[in-house]
Amino acid sequence: MIITVFRKEWLQSLRLGRVRWLLGIALLLAFASGLHTFSAYLNYQNEHALASQISRGDWLSQEAKNPHSAAHYGLFVFKPWSPGSLFDPGLLPFTGTTAFVEAHVKNDAVHAPISDRTTLARWGSLSPAFILLYLVPLLMIAIHFDTVSGERASQMLKWTATTGLPFGKWLAGKWLAIIVLPAFFLILCLGGSWLAAGFTWDHPQLLFGLLLGFLLFYAVLANLILWVSAFTKTPSSSLLVLLAVWILMGWAVPKVAANMAEIQHPAPSLAELRQRIDAAKRDGLMGDAISSERLTELAGQILKELGIEDTPDAAVNRDALNMQAGEAYGYEIFDHFYQEVESNHEQQRQLCLTSSALSPLLPAAMLSMAFSQTDAHAHWHFNRAVELYRREFVEILNREMMLHSQTGDWGYHSHPSTWSKIPEFHYQSQPPTQTWQRAKGYLFSLSLWGLLTSVLTFWIVPARWGWRG
């Protein structure tokens, strides 16, 4: 009987001109979004491969020079785009893709793709995730807003009641009819992204996460549409209420949540952060300038790691050793300030998560970016990977000078073959367990929404209105 109701709903809908038009437009947009994202992805992959090759070539083709000069010459590393970006580019267009690796300084990734765009970028990118998060819910509303109120207004509700069909089964058939459309678009968009990635995905369990998260989101929307349509008396009031709810949940709540997060947990600007780092390097982390004792202690630790006894006649270049000790102190400063910024961003994320009690779109959008590995956390993960690579880079070059030259020998030059000792930068995206760990909160929030709206729809509506309409 549930299937009978489901079949009738779609048979009826597909014979309506407006539904056929809407479906056609949505399919066209989904197709266009797939093409747009795929072309951006391919373009970036090509640029990434070419830029990586040029940067590595530049580094390897250096002539013989002092290793510290080479450390200042530096090299560029680039962020690869995950296959998930084919589905949801998330913050990728707004975060940097290129980081310069050099001695003494931790550089953040710069050159966000959005900086190359014209003002047209203001209207946002048409990605499959955008279609699924914003357009498909509108499509659901446009097709199904009168699913119960229309039947009540036309007296069909009473007619149907006389068949002896339980109200719950009738509602379940309606629910199935509502959710089948977004499920179709979800499979189309995810399948299309997977196909565009050449049937490879960094971690297939992330695809499952996207499927689960979006299905939960659509289940919530289907419940809400049924509930509002059963609660309102006429089809026009159903449409009005549903659109108002969608504007509130889709735009107002996320905007207010983002503003609140920035007000309550303001993040320092990049210039401010640099100033504080420079001050800490100059005056010490706690305002107690770095002491020669601390530097000596760090230098001792480095020698111990190298297995060299710390004696006045030890065969090391003390200038290079002191530079490495200075770097080690710099690591503490960078870790301190960047941890502060990360924890600041985490607090903002937590506030957004709390606000998801007012909108199921918030956890769905955040979950989409998390499982596509295009969220802020993925960006931080890349920045950390670059910093680890930088530390290895500087350490190799300082050690080269430390062990192959003498104190005061600033004219020392390394052989060009030294530069190949620096490994290539290969970025491994964050492990899926970490992503799932972070996505748990969003999934929990969507499950709560699902539970609450199911109670409203499948318990309160039949108990209060039922077949009596």
């Binding site: 009987m1 009978t4 109701v5 009738k8 048979l11 009826q12 014979r15 309506l16 036309s154 007296q155 069909m156 009473k158 007619w159 149907t160 009641a161 006389t162 068949t163 002896g164 069909l165 339980p166 009738w170 077949w467 009596r468 309409g469």
Partner: protein, 238 residues
Amino acid sequence: MLQAENLTKYYGEHLALDSLNLSLSEGEIFCLLGPNGTGKTTTIHLFLNFIQPSKGRALVAGKCVGEHPLEARRNMAYIPEQVAFYGMLTGLENLAYFCQLAGKHFTQAEKLQFLARVGLPERAAKAQVRTYSKGMRQKVAVAIALARDAKAMVLDEPTSGLDPQASNALSATLLELKSAGVTVLMATHDVFRARETGDRVGIMRQGKLEHVMATNQITAQELEAAYLRCVQDVGTAV
């Protein structure tokens, strides 16, 4: 088959139905006459459990509709004054849908036969309902009742807005249902149709069933006179 025991309904302070006691046997056609607002539709809605009685109870095949609404409805077919169907579906598809909801499955030929029995040819049966007249929609409703094999049927002013030919066809179908043992409760303003089709006629006045008459014991003129007296009394009271 259909029983009302002290059935009473208040809408706030307003008494819409006052202690109705009624018993309809198998294969009986009972017509409820009365001006607007005298409780005819309220009676029908109480039998269908669309509203809850303030007092008393309605029974279908011995089961209280308030306690067993789904079983009661499975035994009943309902034809409202304005028969509405899904306009984008054909008559045949509407019949198939409502029969399936009631747990009845038929072949295409059987479904067409039900529609043909009430005078709806195949070509019309395969046209979308939005193109139907009221009479045609009513035929589909009766065909659904036939297909569902309902033991009782309640009709709320079914002849209003029908042309004489369609009214005659409906009467003929009701008599056919009666001979098949179906019990019919019909609310109507059509005195002559009630006299012609019904076994008994009840006249309602201000929520009360005032007169119950066997149609074979009165003439059409006597019934009309009784009905007009009742309407005039209501008019005077108002």
